[in-house]
Symmetry: C2
Subunit: 205 residues, 2 copies
Protein backbone atom coordinates (compact mmCIF):
# COMPACT_ATOMS: atom_id res chain seq x y z
CA UNK A 1 0.00 0.00 0.00
CA UNK A 2 1.71 3.16 -1.18
CA UNK A 3 0.50 6.70 -0.55
CA UNK A 4 -0.52 6.81 -4.21
CA UNK A 5 -2.65 3.71 -3.91
CA UNK A 6 -4.36 5.13 -0.83
CA UNK A 7 -5.11 8.30 -2.76
CA UNK A 8 -6.43 6.28 -5.68
CA UNK A 9 -8.68 4.28 -3.38
CA UNK A 10 -10.13 7.41 -1.81
CA UNK A 11 -10.79 8.87 -5.25
CA UNK A 12 -12.49 5.61 -6.21
CA UNK A 13 -14.73 5.88 -3.14
CA UNK A 14 -15.45 9.54 -4.05
CA UNK A 15 -14.18 10.64 -0.67
CA UNK A 16 -11.81 13.05 -2.36
CA UNK A 17 -11.78 14.62 -5.84
CA UNK A 18 -9.80 13.28 -8.75
CA UNK A 19 -6.69 15.49 -8.88
CA UNK A 20 -6.72 15.42 -12.69
CA UNK A 21 -10.31 16.66 -12.96
CA UNK A 22 -11.29 20.31 -12.94
CA UNK A 23 -12.50 20.19 -9.36
CA UNK A 24 -9.40 18.49 -8.04
CA UNK A 25 -7.10 20.79 -9.96
CA UNK A 26 -8.89 23.81 -8.58
CA UNK A 27 -8.64 22.55 -5.02
CA UNK A 28 -4.91 22.10 -5.40
CA UNK A 29 -4.48 25.57 -6.85
CA UNK A 30 -6.71 26.97 -4.12
CA UNK A 31 -4.59 25.36 -1.41
CA UNK A 32 -1.50 26.92 -2.92
CA UNK A 33 -3.05 30.37 -3.21
CA UNK A 34 -4.73 30.27 0.19
CA UNK A 35 -1.43 29.42 1.77
CA UNK A 36 0.56 31.98 -0.18
CA UNK A 37 -1.74 34.95 0.21
CA UNK A 38 -4.32 33.85 2.72
CA UNK A 39 -7.96 33.08 2.05
CA UNK A 40 -9.18 36.66 2.30
CA UNK A 41 -6.55 38.07 -0.02
CA UNK A 42 -7.23 35.41 -2.63
CA UNK A 43 -10.03 36.44 -4.99
CA UNK A 44 -12.30 34.18 -6.98
CA UNK A 45 -10.64 35.74 -10.02
CA UNK A 46 -7.28 34.49 -8.80
CA UNK A 47 -8.70 31.03 -8.27
CA UNK A 48 -10.32 30.88 -11.68
CA UNK A 49 -7.23 32.15 -13.44
CA UNK A 50 -5.15 29.46 -11.76
CA UNK A 51 -6.94 26.78 -13.75
CA UNK A 52 -7.63 28.90 -16.81
CA UNK A 53 -11.35 29.63 -16.58
CA UNK A 54 -13.46 32.72 -16.00
CA UNK A 55 -14.31 33.72 -12.45
CA UNK A 56 -18.00 33.15 -12.97
CA UNK A 57 -17.39 29.59 -14.14
CA UNK A 58 -16.10 28.70 -10.69
CA UNK A 59 -19.62 28.77 -9.39
CA UNK A 60 -20.55 25.90 -11.62
CA UNK A 61 -18.25 23.69 -9.53
CA UNK A 62 -18.69 25.30 -6.10
CA UNK A 63 -21.58 27.11 -4.52
CA UNK A 64 -19.40 29.77 -2.90
CA UNK A 65 -15.83 30.78 -2.19
CA UNK A 66 -16.17 29.46 1.33
CA UNK A 67 -17.23 26.13 -0.11
CA UNK A 68 -13.86 25.91 -1.81
CA UNK A 69 -12.04 26.51 1.44
CA UNK A 70 -14.17 23.92 3.17
CA UNK A 71 -13.53 21.37 0.44
CA UNK A 72 -9.78 21.92 0.66
CA UNK A 73 -9.90 21.30 4.38
CA UNK A 74 -12.19 18.27 4.21
CA UNK A 75 -10.24 16.45 1.57
CA UNK A 76 -6.97 17.21 3.31
CA UNK A 77 -8.17 15.76 6.60
CA UNK A 78 -9.67 12.70 4.96
CA UNK A 79 -6.51 11.94 3.00
CA UNK A 80 -4.11 12.53 5.86
CA UNK A 81 -6.19 10.56 8.31
CA UNK A 82 -5.96 7.57 6.00
CA UNK A 83 -2.23 8.06 5.46
CA UNK A 84 -1.71 8.19 9.20
CA UNK A 85 -3.85 5.11 9.76
CA UNK A 86 -1.68 3.31 7.25
CA UNK A 87 1.52 4.49 8.94
CA UNK A 88 0.24 3.28 12.29
CA UNK A 89 -0.42 -0.19 10.94
CA UNK A 90 3.27 -0.60 10.10
CA UNK A 91 4.36 0.08 13.70
CA UNK A 92 4.15 -2.44 16.48
CA UNK A 93 5.31 -0.87 19.76
CA UNK A 94 3.92 2.35 21.29
CA UNK A 95 7.26 4.10 20.78
CA UNK A 96 7.29 3.05 17.15
CA UNK A 97 3.73 4.23 16.75
CA UNK A 98 4.65 7.60 18.24
CA UNK A 99 7.48 7.89 15.76
CA UNK A 100 5.06 7.03 12.97
CA UNK A 101 2.60 9.70 14.08
CA UNK A 102 5.18 12.46 14.23
CA UNK A 103 6.74 11.42 10.94
CA UNK A 104 3.31 11.21 9.32
CA UNK A 105 2.27 14.65 10.52
CA UNK A 106 5.56 16.18 9.40
CA UNK A 107 5.00 14.61 6.01
CA UNK A 108 1.45 15.95 5.84
CA UNK A 109 2.62 19.44 6.65
CA UNK A 110 5.80 19.60 4.64
CA UNK A 111 5.12 17.14 1.83
CA UNK A 112 2.76 17.13 -1.12
CA UNK A 113 -0.32 18.09 0.89
CA UNK A 114 1.56 20.69 2.89
CA UNK A 115 -0.13 23.66 1.36
CA UNK A 116 -3.55 22.28 2.18
CA UNK A 117 -2.47 21.38 5.71
CA UNK A 118 -1.21 24.90 6.27
CA UNK A 119 -4.58 26.19 5.13
CA UNK A 120 -6.27 23.82 7.54
CA UNK A 121 -4.24 25.20 10.43
CA UNK A 122 -4.10 28.88 9.63
CA UNK A 123 -7.37 29.67 7.86
CA UNK A 124 -9.66 28.16 10.45
CA UNK A 125 -11.22 31.52 11.32
CA UNK A 126 -12.35 32.15 7.76
CA UNK A 127 -14.86 29.31 7.99
CA UNK A 128 -18.42 29.92 9.17
CA UNK A 129 -19.50 28.28 12.40
CA UNK A 130 -21.42 25.53 10.66
CA UNK A 131 -18.52 24.62 8.41
CA UNK A 132 -16.18 24.64 11.39
CA UNK A 133 -18.34 22.07 13.12
CA UNK A 134 -18.27 19.78 10.09
CA UNK A 135 -14.49 19.94 9.83
CA UNK A 136 -14.11 19.47 13.57
CA UNK A 137 -15.90 16.13 13.36
CA UNK A 138 -13.39 14.83 10.84
CA UNK A 139 -10.56 16.22 12.91
CA UNK A 140 -11.73 14.33 15.99
CA UNK A 141 -11.01 11.01 14.30
CA UNK A 142 -7.51 12.17 13.53
CA UNK A 143 -6.88 13.44 17.04
CA UNK A 144 -8.21 10.24 18.58
CA UNK A 145 -5.36 8.32 16.97
CA UNK A 146 -2.84 10.62 18.62
CA UNK A 147 -4.44 10.39 22.03
CA UNK A 148 -4.60 6.63 21.89
CA UNK A 149 -0.88 6.29 21.22
CA UNK A 150 0.00 8.92 23.83
CA UNK A 151 -2.15 6.99 26.31
CA UNK A 152 -0.30 3.78 25.49
CA UNK A 153 3.03 5.52 26.04
CA UNK A 154 1.92 6.80 29.41
CA UNK A 155 0.61 3.38 30.47
CA UNK A 156 3.89 1.82 29.39
CA UNK A 157 5.74 4.29 31.60
CA UNK A 158 7.59 5.80 28.65
CA UNK A 159 6.12 9.23 29.25
CA UNK A 160 5.04 11.11 32.35
CA UNK A 161 3.41 14.19 30.84
CA UNK A 162 -0.32 14.57 30.28
CA UNK A 163 -1.32 13.17 26.85
CA UNK A 164 -3.69 16.04 26.11
CA UNK A 165 -1.10 18.69 26.92
CA UNK A 166 1.58 16.83 25.02
CA UNK A 167 -0.60 16.59 21.95
CA UNK A 168 -1.40 20.27 22.07
CA UNK A 169 2.23 21.23 22.34
CA UNK A 170 3.08 18.88 19.48
CA UNK A 171 0.28 20.28 17.34
CA UNK A 172 1.80 23.72 17.67
CA UNK A 173 5.40 22.64 17.28
CA UNK A 174 4.77 20.46 14.22
CA UNK A 175 2.36 22.84 12.49
CA UNK A 176 4.85 25.63 12.96
CA UNK A 177 7.45 23.78 10.91
CA UNK A 178 5.51 24.88 7.85
CA UNK A 179 6.75 28.41 8.42
CA UNK A 180 10.43 27.54 8.42
CA UNK A 181 11.21 24.02 7.25
CA UNK A 182 12.86 23.70 3.84
CA UNK A 183 13.40 20.22 2.35
CA UNK A 184 16.72 21.35 0.86
CA UNK A 185 17.96 22.37 4.29
CA UNK A 186 20.33 20.48 6.58
CA UNK A 187 17.88 17.80 7.73
CA UNK A 188 15.18 15.62 6.26
CA UNK A 189 11.91 14.64 7.88
CA UNK A 190 13.33 11.42 9.35
CA UNK A 191 16.06 13.37 11.11
CA UNK A 192 13.57 15.85 12.45
CA UNK A 193 11.31 13.08 13.70
CA UNK A 194 14.26 11.59 15.57
CA UNK A 195 15.11 14.94 17.11
CA UNK A 196 11.54 15.56 18.25
CA UNK A 197 11.40 12.10 19.78
CA UNK A 198 14.66 12.83 21.59
CA UNK A 199 13.30 16.11 22.93
CA UNK A 200 10.41 14.18 24.42
CA UNK A 201 12.76 11.69 26.02
CA UNK A 202 11.75 8.93 23.64
CA UNK A 203 15.14 8.74 22.01
CA UNK A 204 15.80 4.99 21.97
CA UNK A 205 13.36 3.30 19.72
Amino acid sequence: MTPQSILAELVEESRISDPTGARGRLLRAAARLFREKGYERTTVRDLAAAIGIQSGSLFHHFRSKEDILKAVMEETIVLNTELMRHALRQASTPVERMWALIRSELESINGQTGEAMAVLVFEWRSLSGDAQRDILKLRDVYEAMWLEVLGELKSAGKMSADPFLTRRMLTGALSWTVTWYRPDGPRNLDDMTDEVMAMLGLGER
Copy 2:
Protein backbone atom coordinates in the same frame (compact mmCIF):
# COMPACT_ATOMS: atom_id res chain seq x y z
CA MET B 1 10.22 46.75 38.89
CA THR B 2 6.69 45.62 38.13
CA PRO B 3 5.26 45.02 34.65
CA GLN B 4 3.29 48.23 35.12
CA SER B 5 6.37 50.26 35.85
CA ILE B 6 8.11 48.85 32.78
CA LEU B 7 5.11 49.82 30.69
CA ALA B 8 5.13 53.30 32.23
CA GLU B 9 8.80 53.70 31.47
CA LEU B 10 8.34 52.71 27.84
CA VAL B 11 5.47 55.17 27.50
CA GLU B 12 7.69 57.83 29.02
CA GLU B 13 10.38 57.08 26.44
CA SER B 14 7.70 57.20 23.69
CA ARG B 15 8.63 53.71 22.63
CA ILE B 16 4.99 52.68 22.97
CA SER B 17 1.75 54.68 22.99
CA ASP B 18 -0.03 55.81 26.12
CA PRO B 19 -2.84 53.24 26.58
CA THR B 20 -5.20 55.94 27.80
CA GLY B 21 -4.71 58.17 24.75
CA ALA B 22 -6.66 57.82 21.53
CA ARG B 23 -3.83 56.12 19.71
CA GLY B 24 -3.16 53.61 22.45
CA ARG B 25 -6.83 52.82 22.89
CA LEU B 26 -7.18 52.22 19.19
CA LEU B 27 -4.20 49.89 19.11
CA ARG B 28 -5.67 47.82 21.91
CA ALA B 29 -9.04 47.62 20.19
CA ALA B 30 -7.31 46.79 16.93
CA ALA B 31 -5.39 43.94 18.54
CA ARG B 32 -8.66 42.52 19.85
CA LEU B 33 -10.46 42.82 16.53
CA PHE B 34 -7.55 41.56 14.45
CA ARG B 35 -7.32 38.51 16.62
CA GLU B 36 -11.05 37.88 16.71
CA LYS B 37 -11.80 38.32 13.03
CA GLY B 38 -8.43 38.55 11.38
CA TYR B 39 -6.86 41.63 9.84
CA GLU B 40 -8.54 41.29 6.46
CA ARG B 41 -12.02 40.80 7.86
CA THR B 42 -11.67 43.81 10.15
CA THR B 43 -12.69 47.04 8.40
CA VAL B 44 -11.55 50.54 9.20
CA ARG B 45 -15.18 51.17 10.12
CA ASP B 46 -14.97 48.42 12.74
CA LEU B 47 -11.78 49.93 14.12
CA ALA B 48 -13.20 53.44 14.28
CA ALA B 49 -16.44 52.27 15.89
CA ALA B 50 -14.44 50.46 18.58
CA ILE B 51 -13.22 53.77 19.98
CA GLY B 52 -16.27 55.78 18.99
CA ILE B 53 -15.08 57.87 16.08
CA GLN B 54 -15.86 58.01 12.37
CA SER B 55 -13.91 55.82 9.99
CA GLY B 56 -12.35 58.78 8.24
CA SER B 57 -11.01 60.17 11.51
CA LEU B 58 -8.79 57.12 11.86
CA PHE B 59 -6.55 58.50 9.18
CA HIS B 60 -5.71 61.47 11.31
CA HIS B 61 -3.89 59.06 13.66
CA PHE B 62 -2.57 56.51 11.16
CA ARG B 63 -1.56 56.81 7.54
CA SER B 64 -3.16 53.52 6.53
CA LYS B 65 -4.83 50.42 7.85
CA GLU B 66 -1.60 48.51 7.47
CA ASP B 67 0.10 51.13 9.59
CA ILE B 68 -2.22 50.18 12.42
CA LEU B 69 -1.28 46.52 12.11
CA LYS B 70 2.38 47.40 12.03
CA ALA B 71 2.05 49.61 15.11
CA VAL B 72 0.29 46.84 17.03
CA MET B 73 3.11 44.47 16.21
CA GLU B 74 5.93 46.90 16.95
CA GLU B 75 4.63 47.98 20.31
CA THR B 76 3.92 44.39 21.28
CA ILE B 77 7.43 43.26 20.51
CA VAL B 78 9.02 46.23 22.24
CA LEU B 79 6.98 45.72 25.38
CA ASN B 80 7.41 41.98 25.58
CA THR B 81 11.12 42.16 24.88
CA GLU B 82 11.51 44.44 27.86
CA LEU B 83 9.33 42.24 30.04
CA MET B 84 11.41 39.24 29.11
CA ARG B 85 14.66 41.07 29.73
CA HIS B 86 13.36 41.91 33.17
CA ALA B 87 12.34 38.29 33.84
CA LEU B 88 15.79 37.11 32.80
CA ARG B 89 17.49 39.43 35.27
CA GLN B 90 15.72 37.70 38.16
CA ALA B 91 17.10 34.29 37.21
CA SER B 92 20.62 33.15 37.97
CA THR B 93 21.18 29.66 36.54
CA PRO B 94 20.63 28.62 32.91
CA VAL B 95 17.79 26.32 33.94
CA GLU B 96 16.16 29.12 35.87
CA ARG B 97 16.59 31.44 32.91
CA MET B 98 14.96 28.87 30.65
CA TRP B 99 12.03 28.66 33.03
CA ALA B 100 11.79 32.45 33.00
CA LEU B 101 11.77 32.56 29.20
CA ILE B 102 9.00 30.02 28.86
CA ARG B 103 6.97 31.58 31.61
CA SER B 104 7.45 35.02 30.12
CA GLU B 105 6.39 33.94 26.64
CA LEU B 106 3.33 32.15 28.00
CA GLU B 107 2.43 35.33 29.84
CA SER B 108 2.90 37.42 26.71
CA ILE B 109 0.64 35.13 24.74
CA ASN B 110 -2.04 34.40 27.28
CA GLY B 111 -1.94 37.49 29.48
CA GLN B 112 -2.84 41.12 28.93
CA THR B 113 -0.94 41.47 25.67
CA GLY B 114 -2.12 38.11 24.37
CA GLU B 115 -4.34 39.50 21.67
CA ALA B 116 -1.53 41.56 20.24
CA MET B 117 0.88 38.61 20.42
CA ALA B 118 -1.58 36.43 18.56
CA VAL B 119 -1.78 39.10 15.89
CA LEU B 120 2.00 39.18 15.71
CA VAL B 121 2.10 35.44 15.11
CA PHE B 122 -0.86 34.90 12.85
CA GLU B 123 -1.17 38.09 10.79
CA TRP B 124 2.39 38.17 9.57
CA ARG B 125 1.39 37.67 5.95
CA SER B 126 -0.81 40.75 5.93
CA LEU B 127 2.21 43.02 6.26
CA SER B 128 4.01 44.37 3.22
CA GLY B 129 7.58 43.26 2.65
CA ASP B 130 9.06 46.49 3.95
CA ALA B 131 7.04 46.41 7.12
CA GLN B 132 7.97 42.76 7.64
CA ARG B 133 11.62 43.66 7.54
CA ASP B 134 11.18 46.37 10.17
CA ILE B 135 9.35 44.02 12.53
CA LEU B 136 11.88 41.27 11.92
CA LYS B 137 14.67 43.50 13.22
CA LEU B 138 12.87 43.97 16.50
CA ARG B 139 12.14 40.27 16.64
CA ASP B 140 15.79 39.38 16.25
CA VAL B 141 16.61 41.01 19.59
CA TYR B 142 13.92 38.93 21.24
CA GLU B 143 15.06 35.70 19.62
CA ALA B 144 18.68 36.35 20.53
CA MET B 145 17.75 36.12 24.20
CA TRP B 146 16.26 32.68 23.63
CA LEU B 147 19.23 31.41 21.70
CA GLU B 148 21.68 32.63 24.31
CA VAL B 149 19.96 30.75 27.09
CA LEU B 150 19.55 27.63 24.98
CA GLY B 151 23.23 27.81 24.19
CA GLU B 152 24.07 28.05 27.88
CA LEU B 153 21.93 25.01 28.58
CA LYS B 154 23.68 23.02 25.91
CA SER B 155 27.13 24.05 27.14
CA ALA B 156 26.13 23.08 30.66
CA GLY B 157 25.14 19.63 29.37
CA LYS B 158 21.53 20.09 30.41
CA MET B 159 20.27 19.71 26.90
CA SER B 160 21.45 17.74 23.89
CA ALA B 161 19.13 19.03 21.17
CA ASP B 162 20.05 21.77 18.72
CA PRO B 163 19.20 25.22 20.18
CA PHE B 164 17.80 26.51 16.89
CA LEU B 165 15.53 23.53 16.41
CA THR B 166 14.44 23.61 20.02
CA ARG B 167 13.55 27.28 19.80
CA ARG B 168 11.54 26.71 16.66
CA MET B 169 9.59 23.87 18.20
CA LEU B 170 8.98 25.96 21.29
CA THR B 171 7.84 28.92 19.23
CA GLY B 172 5.17 26.76 17.67
CA ALA B 173 4.16 24.96 20.84
CA LEU B 174 3.91 28.11 22.96
CA SER B 175 2.22 30.26 20.30
CA TRP B 176 -0.32 27.55 19.77
CA THR B 177 -1.47 27.79 23.38
CA VAL B 178 -3.33 30.91 22.36
CA THR B 179 -5.80 28.73 20.48
CA TRP B 180 -6.73 26.53 23.41
CA TYR B 181 -5.48 27.82 26.77
CA ARG B 182 -8.08 29.21 29.13
CA PRO B 183 -6.99 30.85 32.40
CA ASP B 184 -10.03 29.41 34.17
CA GLY B 185 -9.03 25.90 33.15
CA PRO B 186 -7.29 23.25 35.26
CA ARG B 187 -3.82 24.79 35.21
CA ASN B 188 -2.21 28.18 35.51
CA LEU B 189 0.80 29.46 33.60
CA ASP B 190 3.27 28.37 36.31
CA ASP B 191 1.98 24.81 36.09
CA MET B 192 2.22 24.84 32.35
CA THR B 193 5.76 26.18 32.46
CA ASP B 194 6.73 23.33 34.80
CA GLU B 195 5.15 20.79 32.47
CA VAL B 196 6.92 22.16 29.42
CA MET B 197 10.22 22.11 31.28
CA ALA B 198 9.55 18.50 32.24
CA MET B 199 8.80 17.58 28.64
CA LEU B 200 12.21 18.94 27.69
CA GLY B 201 13.90 16.94 30.42
CA LEU B 202 14.62 20.04 32.49
CA GLY B 203 12.33 18.99 35.29
CA GLU B 204 14.46 19.67 38.37
CA ARG B 205 15.10 23.34 38.72
